[in-house]
Each structure stands twice: as structure tokens, then as C-alpha cells.
């Protein structure tokens, strides 16, 4: 049984907020999270013939499958590829207001995550914190970073990798696992 527009609209009304939070926890950007939500539901309508479930719960599970692919696609391409949105001729949306931005961060508990990142950076060895600040925050290229620290470019790359791995290990208990859950 394919997915009807009526059922999709019903699922949207009931779960859109949940999907936005799902995306925001994975891409850390409320604007991108809203775009991914739009693309997921649009893609669900476009590909509705491949839906084999019946109930709204079946549809939600199916949509989360699409959502996970959308997240992977975003990290691969570095942007939201809105093929389904464009195919349906959906108008470009406005930007989020400050209140909406904060509300999505609240739904995704991004504020807590941000505080945890800041705390973990504070606790890291100074060498790791410094190299992450230069590479991630100031977005320095490796040659410039290496010159700044007076080390070789190869050493700079290795130091950034070590620092990122160390930070990931520290943050792992606080990162999302399954949809709708937060460790």
C-alpha cells in the first residue's frame, strides 16, 4: 500500500517537530535541520509507491530510514541536496527567527551539548585545545596552521587528528544514538 498525501500530512502534523530535533542533533544547525525535514517529507511523497506499510507508525519508521540517508548525504555533500523539494516545486522558505532557532536548539538539547563541548575543551591538554581552535574555529589551512605553530604540515595534520579523536571519545557519552533518544 503506497503512502497517500493524506497520511503523510497526518504524520507531518504529529511528528515534524520530532524530525527537526532528530536532524538538529546530528547536523548541529537548526536551519539545515529544517531543510532536511522538508526534503525528507518531500522525498517520502515522491517515493511513496515504495512504502509497504499500513499504519502511521509504519510510515514514521519508513521516514526515519529516509531521514538517516538524508543526514549521510548532507555530510557527504556538505549541503542539503533538495531534489525532492525542487521536484515538487516547493517555494523557498524564509529564514528562522531567533525564537525559532533557539526553540529548535532547545528541542535538540544543543545547548547542553554546547556546554559539554566547552567543558571538554577546557579539560583537554592545552596543545590539543589550541590546535582545534586554530583549525576548527579559525578555519586555518594546514600550511598556515603549521607556520603558526612552527611545526611541519605533516605534524600539524597528525596533531589535529589526535585532538579530534580525543574530543570525540570524551563526547561519545553525550552524543545521540537511536532516533528520538539522547544519551
Amino acid at each position: 500500500m503506497s503512502l497517500s498525501s493524506e497520511q503523510l500530512a497526518r504524520v507531518y502534523d504529529a511528528h515534524a517537530r520530532e524530525f527537526v530535533a532528530f536532524f538538529a542533533r546530528r547536523v548541529y544547525d537548526p536551519e539545515v535541520a529544517v531543510d532536511l525535514t522538508a526534503e525528507t517529507f518531500a522525498a517520502a511523497f515522491v517515493g511513496g509507491d515504495s512504502f509497504t506499510g499500513k499504519t502511521d507508525e509504519d510510515a514514521v519508521r519508513w521516514l526515519y530510514g529516509i531521514a538517516k540517508n538524508q543526514v549521510a548525504g548532507f555530510w557527504r555533500a556538505g549541503q542539503v541536496e533538495q531534489r525532492a523539494v525542487e521536484r515538487l516545486g516547493m517555494q523557498q522558505r524564509r529564514g528562522l527567527t531567533d525564537e525559532e532557532y533557539e526553540r529548535i536548539e532547545e528541542l535538540a538539547a544543543l545547548g547542553d551539548l554546547r556546554r559539554r563541548v566547552a567543558a571538554e575543551l577546557e579539560a583537554m591538554p592545552a596543545e590539543h585545545a589550541e590546535v582545534l581552535r586554530l583549525r576548527v574555529v579559525q578555519e586555518l589551512d594546514y600550511p598556515v596552521l603549521a607556520a603558526r605553530l612552527e611545526i611541519s604540515e605533516q605534524t600539524a595534520r597528525a596533531r589535529v587528528s589526535r585532538a579530534l579523536r580525543a574530543l570525540a571519545v570524551r563526547l561519545e557519552p553525550y552524543l545521540p544514538t537511536e532516533e528520538g533518544s539522547h544519551a
Binding site: A9, Y12, V20, F45, L88, M90, R103, E139, D141
Partner: protein, 417 residues
């Protein structure tokens, strides 16, 4: 279905409405029988989305009849004949709204159009407005659409063969900065081959119909360095609408302007000349921001411009929202405050007789030629992510030599002579 479904996130309500409309269009196109059975969507913004609803021609909506129309007000009265210059009195049989449409950057707003005609004296006249069905008018700040009668004309002019007869940029102000719009229009060019607007240096082409064009962009013209570039025959004509000589563009917000001033000592032997950047206007009720001044002292020489002691004086600094001078008001004329978003600013003064050009270099591939303002000052506003401490100025002197400045040169920031 509860009324307050997405009260905390209106964007989701708008997105849902867009999705529902798109699905209905797709099903109607595919001839699906599901369209007739689909329940009507609850419109959270009847002004914007009902326009789309009407285009679809769906039936069975439960929305009340009063909400199926755009909010309207009485037509704007036209001017009295005795108040109108003859050259701007249009022949009623010549007026028509062209098929050109310029979509508002925000979804759900009426598109802009241009109405052209001829005056009784043969001038080409143009009026910009918005279209709602067959009606031509304008939406006011109260959200109501009001028709613009035939007597209302923005401008008239005579075709010269080398330029359009009329061209202009009409600013539609709004309570919120992000709702401000500038409508660029022109008409009356026989051999108009290309029309484009430049926004922050980026060209955006406009469609042309009968030698006329219309486009709409967000923000005030000065905030985006707005220019209009036309190709007429084999000539290129450029009109600047937001390109004042003292203007400095912001990365994304209101523009800045270089302000200069000075004072003389009581004995008129010494003077101080200062320059700073000030916001051209505010965004959303914040106070206007400004930088502290960069000044130099020089002896007063009658009938001569003050001689700078060094070729370049400048400061480079990252300002954060809330930064301000700490001198008590009245104690120092150098009071300043920063209410704008964080920015890295480089500003200063130049001895134009000695300095030929300046290039600004910063990490992350930031490099740009610095435009001289009136030949003796400059200002550059960059994102706060650019580290002010790592900015260098590469100065080429008129004698061919070059100098590199990696630290600010601020002889004084006091305006007292």
C-alpha cells in the same frame, strides 16, 4: 486538530502548508483521485498561502469566505490635476501593467510589477507596485493591499537613445529591517539588450519586456551597494543607487560611512583630524554603532591641507556587541559604542600625496584592494572571524616603494587638539 499546532515553530506550519499545496499540485497533475478527498489544510498565514490556494482552484475548503481574499484597504487616492506637473499626467489610454513579475524574496508575498504609460507631453512614465489578480497596487505596513489609481506615477522621462527614459530604485520601508525592500525599475529604452542589478558586486539579470524591467531585492540600496547596469545597443550604462563615495559595505547588515572631523587649538596653531566609521542607519531598534576615531595632529598651515606626519594611520580591531568607550560622557569627545553584530574593522587615514594604493591581507585567503574614500581615508568591515591581529596592510607608495604594516599606527585617538 488543535489550533496551536506549531505555535512554537511557525516555520513548521508554513513548511507543512507548502508541502500540502505541492502534493495537491502533483496529484492534480497526475490526475489522482486522492486530491478531492484530501482535507483542507489549516492556513496559518491566510494572506500568503491562500494566494496559492486560489491558484490551485481546490474546492471544499472549510475556510470562511472572508479569509479567501487578500486583506484590502481603500484605493490610494490619486493626486489632484492642479498638483501634477503636465509632464507627469499620463494618458489614460496608454497605461498598462507589463507581464514582468519580480518575486519578493520572502515566500507568500505578492509579486512586484511595473505599469508604464505615456504622458500628455510624450514622456515615458513608470510606476512600480504589486499585483493581486488583475489589480495593481501596493501592500502597506498594515498588510493591506490598496490599488494605485491611474494618476499615481513614480517618474517620467524622455528616451535619449543612449539610456532608458526612466530608471529608479524605490525603497519600501518596513518596521523590521529584514522586511525592507528596494524595487529597481526602468522603462523606455528602444534597444535595451540586457538589464542587470549588482548586489554586493554580484550581477543578477532581469527580464526585459518592451524596453522595461523590474526587480526587487531585500534591504536598503546603500546596504548592498546597489547598481543597475544596462546594455543599450553597443553601450553599457551603469546607475548607482547605493554607491556613495563614503559608503563601506558590511558583510551582511547596514552599511557604514566614513565620517571625518577635526578641531583646532585655541591659538589656531595645531589641529587634529580624525576619521571613524558610523553605521548609516540602525537595524531593528539598536542604537547606531561607531568606531573610535583615528586621528593625527598637525600644525595649522593656512590655505593648505594638514600634513600627515606618517603616510598611513590606522587601527584594526574586532568589535563585539556591547563594546563601548569607557570615558564618561562630556569628558571626551571620542565617545563610541558598538551595538552591531561582531565585526573586525580596519579604518584609518592616508596621505594621498604619498600613498598610491593599499591592499589588505589576512589569513584564510582574505585579500582585497582597499578603496580610498575621498582619497584620504579608508574603511573595511569584515566578519569577526577575521583575526584583527593578523591583518597586514601592503602600502604601495607613489614613488614605487612598498611598506608593510602589521600593527596599527594610531598617533592619537583623541579629538582634542
Amino acid at each position: 486538530m488543535p489550533d496551536a499546532l506549531f505555535d512554537d515553530l511557525p516555520i513548521l506550519g508554513e513548511l507543512g502548508a507548502t508541502l500540502t499545496a505541492a502534493m495537491a499540485r502533483a496529484e492534480a497533475t497526475a490526475g489522482s483521485s486522492a486530491t478531492a478527498a484530501a482535507p483542507p489544510r489549516r492556513w496559518r498565514r491566510p494572506y500568503g498561502w491562500l494566494g496559492t490556494f486560489l491558484v490551485l482552484g481546490l474546492v471544499g475548503t472549510t475556510a470562511a469566505a472572508g479569509t479567501l481574499t487578500v486583506l484590502r484597504g481603500s484605493p490610494i487616492p490619486g493626486p489632484k490635476a492642479e498638483d501634477t506637473q503636465p509632464s507627469m499626467v499620463q494618458r489614460s489610454d496608454s497605461q498598462h501593467v507589463l507581464g514582468l513579475r519580480a518575486n519578493d524574496p520572502a515566500a507568500g508575498h505578492l509579486p512586484f510589477a511595473i505599469r508604464v504609460g505615456e504622458s500628455e507631453q510624450g514622456d515615458i512614465c513608470a510606476t512600480v507596485g504589486q499585483v493581486d489578480g488583475d489589480d495593481f497596487g501596493i501592500v502597506g505596513e498594515d498588510g493591506r493591499f490598496r490599488q494605485l489609481p491611474a494618476g499615481i506615477v513614480d517618474s517620467c522621462g524622455r528616451a535619449t537613445g543612449t539610456d532608458v527614459a526612466v530608471a529608479g530604485a524605490r525603497v519600501l520601508d518596513a518596521k523590521r529591517y529584514e522586511d525592507v525592500r528596494t524595487v529597481i525599475y526602468g522603462a523606455g529604452a528602444d534597444d535595451l539588450k540586457r538589464a542587470e542589478i549588482l548586489v554586493r558586486g554580484k550581477a543578477i539579470p532581469l527580464k526585459i519586456e518592451d524596453g522595461a524591467f523590474v526587480g526587487v531585492v531585500p534591504n536598503y540600496p546603500e546596504d548592498i551597494g546597489l547598481q543597475l547596469r544596462l546594455r543599450i545597443g553597443d553601450r553599457t550604462v551603469t546607475h548607482g543607487f547605493g554607491t556613495g563615495r563614503a559608503l563601506v559595505l558590511d558583510p551582511s547588515g547596514p552599511a557604514w560611512q566614513m565620517s571625518r572631523g577635526g578641531s583646532q587649538s585655541r591659538d589656531r596653531k595645531t589641529q587634529v583630524n580624525c576619521a571613524n566609521l558610523q553605521q548609516v542607519h540602525r537595524a531593528d531598534g539598536t542604537r547606531m554603532s561607531s568606531t573610535p576615531p583615528v586621528c593625527f595632529r598637525a600644525p595649522v598651515e593656512h590655505h593648505k591641507l594638514p600634513q600627515m606626519p606618517v603616510p598611513v594611520t590606522y587601527n584594526a580591531r574586532t568589535f563585539h556587541t556591547g563594546d563601548r568607550s569607557h570615558d564618561p560622557p562630556g569628558r571626551s569627545p571620542s565617545v563610541w559604542r558598538w551595538q552591531a553584530p561582531s565585526r573586525t574593522v580596519v579604518w584609518g587615514q592616508i596621505d594621498g600625496k604619498r600613498v598610491k594604493q593599499i591592499d589588505l591581507v589576512a589569513p584564510s585567503s582574505v585579500r582585497q584592494r582597499v578603496r580610498k574614500i575621498y582619497g584620504d581615508s579608508f574603511g573595511v568591515v569584515l566578519p569577526a572571524s577575521v583575526n584583527a591581529k593578523h591583518i597586514r596592510l601592503l602600502v604601495t607608495m607613489r614613488d614605487g616603494s612598498t611598506r608593510t604594516y602589521s600593527r596599527p599606527v594610531v598617533p592619537t585617538s583623541s579629538m582634542r587638539p
